[in-house]
Amino acid sequence: MEADAIKFLGAGLAAIGAGLAALGVGNVFAAFLQGALRNPSAAAGQQGNMFIGFAAAELLGLLAFVVAVLLIFVA
């Protein structure tokens, strides 16, 4: 296989990481809503913690995107 083809394959595979991060981010919000609906009075105080979880999960998806961009434009 040509080197270029392998690069594009790698970039495509990196998209799996973005999809998995989507699962993670969805999980964060789902768990927050589950907890918030059970105890609405405690929900407001935990919003910051939810966003920390969101930021951590999202970062890994963004890293997958960086890998894809590096493969296409830099490598």
């Binding site: 105080g45 910051g48 963004l62 995107f65 960086v66």
Partner: protein, 261 residues
């Protein structure tokens, strides 16, 4: 370089020189990046001046400004405690500048031929902001606690054998903070803008091939673009909030070490 037809979605991120400022033997290029940073700063300045009249009965504008200051004040109070007030000016400026730079980059100035440049889609800009946050954490931590600051890497009550494993991990996670902070903002903005331009490219390329395919492709693409634009407005706010939130958490680490929270 990927073959992307005539429309290159990466073109929007090119830093172009608008004019050169002569500076002795050198020239200082004034770029579109600098221009849009100034636009964001001036817009922020005007926004703040308009709402800082301190009327007893606040008008709409003052309510908007006080909403933002109160929001960041509450964020700091929740994450740092009563000592958080000291860091309000920094975290507030950081949050508002990132928010304005993000939003200004999304505004449809292109309709009048003025192409907005998203300052925060560049690692150099977000990197400097992250280094500023990280330096404040280091300076505050070292001044407040001296060498005890390094106990940050050794959580209290950890057995020695576990500590050998935990301390390097804590150290790496501490050193990686400015990178993750800068990378998150820069990639989130870049990814959204590329997506918008790729969708816009679909519309132009499909209309060029004929009316039938043009309508078939451009109507769903345009609908998706409207949705993604709305999502990007959300992302612009959320990313500014996350940057401020993580900065306040890191400052909390420096102020309190592992003592509480």
């Amino acid at each position: 370089m990927a073959q992307a037809g005539k429309i290159d979605p990466m073109h929007q991120f090119e830093v172009q020189t608008i004019f050169n400022i002569p500076l002795g033997d050198h020239v200082l290029p004034f770029t579109n990046s600098a221009l849009w940073m100034i636009v964001a700063a001036v817009a922020l300045f005007v926004f703040m001046i308009g709402g800082m009249k301190q009327q007893v009965v606040p008008g709409r504008w003052q309510m908007a400004v006080e909403g933002f200051t109160g929001f960041i004040d509450k964020l700091l109070a929740a994450n740092i405690g009563h000592e958080g007030r000291k860091y309000l000016p920094y975290v507030f400026s950081l949050f508002m500048f990132i928010l304005f730079a993000n939003v200004v980059g999304l505004l449809p100035f292109g309709l009048v031929g003025l192409h907005p440049f998203t300052v925060t889609s560049h690692f150099t800009v977000t990197g400097v902001l992250a280094i500023a946050s990280f330096s404040i954490v280091l300076v505050v931590g070292l001044f407040k606690h001296g060498l005890r600051f390094f106990s940050l890497f050794a959580p209290k009550g950890t057995p020695i054998p576990v500590l050998l494993l935990v301390a390097p991990i804590e150290f790496v996670s501490f050193m990686v903070r400015p990178f993750s902070l800068a990378l998150r903002l820069f990639v989130a903005m870049t990814a959204g803008h590329i997506l918008l331009k790729v969708l816009a490219g679909f519309i132009i390329n499909s209309t060029a091939t004929g009316a039938g395919i043009g309508v078939l492709v451009s109507v769903p693409s345009f609908a998706l673009m409207v949705g993604v634009s709305a999502l990007e407005m959300l992302v612009a706010g959320v990313q500014a909030y996350v940057f401020a939130l993580l900065t306040s958490l890191y400052i909390n680490d420096a102020v309190h070490l592992h003592d509480h929270h």
